[in-house]
């Protein structure tokens, strides 16, 4: 005649099952959060990258890059000439005046 299962052993088995289930739920939850965060980050990155392609969404000028390659230079402030004006006593060829 088999001996009846001891109550303590049965409780341990149930607690182990509960722990395994909870551990699994935590893993699922963690994975879900990571996936959600990655989706948000990816959306932001892609959105920023393709914002220029959406008509009407322009960068405010305060933070825009002015890099059109003009002859005026693009950064570092107003640029000096290669050589400063030098005085001369010769007859002028042209004139700079207010306009």
């Amino acid at each position: 005649m088999p001996l009846p299962e001891r109550p303590a052993a049965a409780d341990r088995s149930v607690r182990d099952a509960v722990r395994r289930r909870e551990r699994g739920l935590r893993r699922v939850g963690t994975t879900t959060r990571w996936v959600a965060a990655a989706a948000v980050a990816g959306t932001a990155v892609l959105g920023a990258g393709y914002a220029h392609a959406l008509p009407g969404i322009a960068v405010p000028t305060g933070s825009a890059r002015h890099d059109s390659g003009t002859s005026t230079g693009t950064s570092g402030g107003l640029q000096p000439a290669g050589q400063a004006p030098a005085p001369t006593s010769q007859t002028p060829q042209t004139q700079s005046g207010a306009s």
Binding site: A58, A64, P80, P85, A86, P92, Q93, A98, S99
Partner: protein, 388 residues
Amino acid sequence: MSATSADARGRVGSGLEPATAVFTALGTTAVLLTADPARADDALLILRAELAAIDAACSRFRPDSELSRANTAAGNGPVPVSALLAEAVEVALRAAELTDGAVDPTVGPAVVALGYDRTFAEVAARRPENTEPATAPRPAAGWRSVRWDPALRLLRLPAGTTLDLGATAKALAADRAAHRAAAAVGCGVLVNLGGDLSAAGEPPAGGWRVAIADNHAGPEDGWRAGTADGHAAREGSGQAGITDDPRAPNAGPQGATVGRHTPLHTGPRPTITDNHTAPNAAPRHPVVSIRDGGLATSGTTVRTWRRGGRTLHHIVDPATGDVPPPVWRTVSVAAGSCVDANTATTAALVLGERAPDWLRGTGLPARLVRTDGSVLCLGAWPAEGGDR
């Protein structure tokens, strides 16, 4: 553009002297110096083409210009613009950024409110003065309100805002034309648009010689006659509203300038003579030589008109929408480009008493003439007889 070029090739130099072409364009006088006279024709073609392109893109007086169409669309969706207008917009926004808004392209409504709502020749025709009541100054919306997409060249202006590229587009035209012409003809070229100069290529021996037109006369003499700089008006002097004629100062309320001209002007007479073209300026004007880059002079006494009992001019403080307090009569700056030089001169007039410190911060050579005629030279600008 109102190019009337009859003697467009002007005095073609012989041998050592560069060829000179003088004609009217962009509402002012254009002068082209070409170091090799044999290449003057080609350089002139390039300059004319550049001026026509800038006018078609950036004029606020032409309803068919790209800029006018963009201004009309203010408050609506973004407007795609050409590469040229894109460059002009970026240059204007850069000028605003570098001057902390002292030179601001959104000053358009303010300029119009002051009465400069049509070409200056037409404004000048309202002599002796515009008797319409003065409009309250309109501070500029601010350049940061402009939404500009440089990648797609999309421009969007908020409602009620219009761009006025007058502070930078002419200088940009000078830079573009000088560099393109010099590269094409293989010699030094200097382009002078209404006193704003750009030089590119190998200059003639000794550099390009430029008279800095200004009147050193003190207030006790008024703005002296017989000079080539056209400073003919005094604030509140009751003189005629148009003040371009150097021979007209103190000539009385009707002694204005239509029909008059400076004897030094060699090209066809524009209705309003800005007097930047005198190749043989009066000897008392300082003369400097430059080899490259830009040299600009801005002033408050040439392009003036009267309205509401006040003498107004085209330099407007974006913060107030009004003309800045009279501190400097003219400011000249040399820089790496005409755009940078003109940006500095315009900002200096707006900044008033703060201008010397700001200009020192830029490190650019500058010459400032106060309303009393005293001269202040900054940086590497050559001193004048102890004025420094």
